[in-house]
Amino acid sequence: MFEFLIHVSIMACLYGLLSLSLNLQVGFAGLVNFGQVILFGCGTYGAAIAFSHQLGPVAGIALGIVFAVVVAAAFARLGRNLGADYWGIATLAVAEVLRILANNEAWLTGGAQGVSGIPLLFGDKPRPMGPLMTLGLCVALLIAAWWLCQRLTTSRYGLALKLMREEPQLAASLGYDLAVLKTQTLMVAAVLAAASGFVFAHYITFVGPDQLVSSETFLIWAMVIIGGSGNHLGAIVGAILMQFLFAFVPFVKDALGLPSEYVAAMRLTLVGGGLLVFLMWRTQGLIPERIGGKQNG
């Protein structure tokens, strides 16, 4: 049970990073990104490609970040010509195209079989020391990401992001370059997501295109909406809550005597139902966005 809890905690931290990344985009900058999972995929495939070519983990994280920043730049470029809603659909389409590419370009990505045998970040440490060290790394990453997001969004830069989200025309008329603001936000968010993907790949030791299905994006969306869009702590709480609920679904299934195939359905119901409940009755999420207040810098 102890190791199971460590596993769930690691996954909660990794999803917490993804949640923070999406929250920065949608909660602060108003960027409705439905292709979030591909930024995570850039990190996983960075690790996988570096491993396949025996380049080592440093090259892996560097590759992952470069991939993610390039995809973020492409997303931002798309945003110059599209309205917010069409841009959201375009990000979903780009993410799907890249997933299909990963599924078919076996020479680079391992194709549908993916890449397995990716080494653990801390080698073959005896259990539970290895997973505990990974958990320590994940917690440190999550705290660092939270600190970075907090610094960014409580500065005048954060105020500019909110201004862009609420009144884009006013922001432009006050001299803010919206294209630059969007690009910067997407790139920071992409680095966070890629870091999560990199650690995930070295923890699970396998990378495949099935990890990049769009339902993963909507799971991250559910975490942000349930936790509280526009609040970093809310995004983290949403991720932890959803991850622990997901982990305990099999126990509920056993208690109710349901067949195993119900587990996936129950998890999807949790995502859809949770989204629906919060969108209808508590749009601000569990920890609402803090409006106003003193800004730094």
Binding site: L159, A160, A172, S173, L174, G175, Y176, I291, G292
Partner: protein, 251 residues
């Protein structure tokens, strides 16, 4: 300062809203753009600001063609200020934070200096600078919008219906503030307005648009005194027996 040459503009694939507009505005004068709803007043202002790109013709600022220059670049490089029509003061921020939103590109000492100057000019804001903007009246919110645009010391100020939604008393206060900006700074102010009487009272020159074209242009005082103009736009006495042919077209 601003020259609009034969500008045509519209939205998407739709027809031209502006059909060959010419307009000039110099430093130290208020030029007001009047006309009935849907005549293209706000589109013209957005065209000058850069929110709408002209399909034909040119917009010049200080002799340079800025038709294709983005709004934020005009703000930074051509010192343009723009106050949109809708009430977009942030109620949850303090008055000070709202004003400072317009000062992102200024170095901190200059920003503080400009802020202090503005507070001296607008005592109604100064007394509430640490309070949330929700505590302001409609007129004060509009003054706050002006202060936010003025903090970056623009040379050109574009105002989209500054009196929208204000009571007559507050409207008077806002127009007085606009006239004071012109007198104090020698700024070039272009203002779109529905309240023609108030706008003409403070403006130096006016353009009256109809169906995307300039129907009348002239000195504001002349238009204010014109019986036909008073009848058509100001709710005044009936027009003379033979109105000006262009006014007849507008009606």
């Amino acid at each position: 300062m601003i020259r609009v040459n034969n500008v045509r503009a519209g939205y998407g694939d739709g027809p031209d809203i502006l059909q060959g507009i010419d307009l000039t505005a110099s430093g130290g004068e208020i030029v007001t753009i009047l006309g009935p709803n849907g005549c293209g007043k706000s589109t013209l202002l957005k065209c000058i600001a850069g929110f709408v790109r002209p399909r034909g013709g040119a917009v010049e600022m200080e002799g340079r063609d800025v038709s294709a220059v983005a709004v934020h670049d005009k703000v930074k490089h051509h010192r343009m200020g723009f106050v949109p029509q809708t009430d977009n003061v942030f109620s949850t921020l303090t008055v000070a934070d709202n004003v400072l939103l317009g000062a992102r590109h200024l170095p901190v000492p200059e920003r503080n200096e400009r802020y202090a100057e503005l507070m001296a000019q607008y005592p109604s804001l100064a007394s509430k600078q640490e309070r949330k903007a929700s505590a302001l009246s409609g007129g004060e919110r509009q003054i706050l919008s002006l202060a936010r645009a003025l903090i970056s010391t623009p040379k050109v100020l574009l105002l989209d219906e500054p009196s929208a939604g204000l009571s007559p008393l507050m409207m008077h206060e806002v127009f007085a503030a606009i006239a004071a900006i012109r007198d104090r700074t020698g700024m070039c102010i272009v203002m779109v307005e529905q309240n023609a009487f108030e706008a003409l009272s403070v403006a130096d020159r006016a353009y009256v648009l109809s169906l995307g074209k300039v129907a009348i242009e002239g000195r504001a005082a002349d238009l204010l005194a014109d019986p036909a103009m008073r009848h058509l736009y100001l709710g005044g006495e009936p027009p003379p027996a033979e109105p000006h042919p262009r006014l007849a077209a507008v009606s």
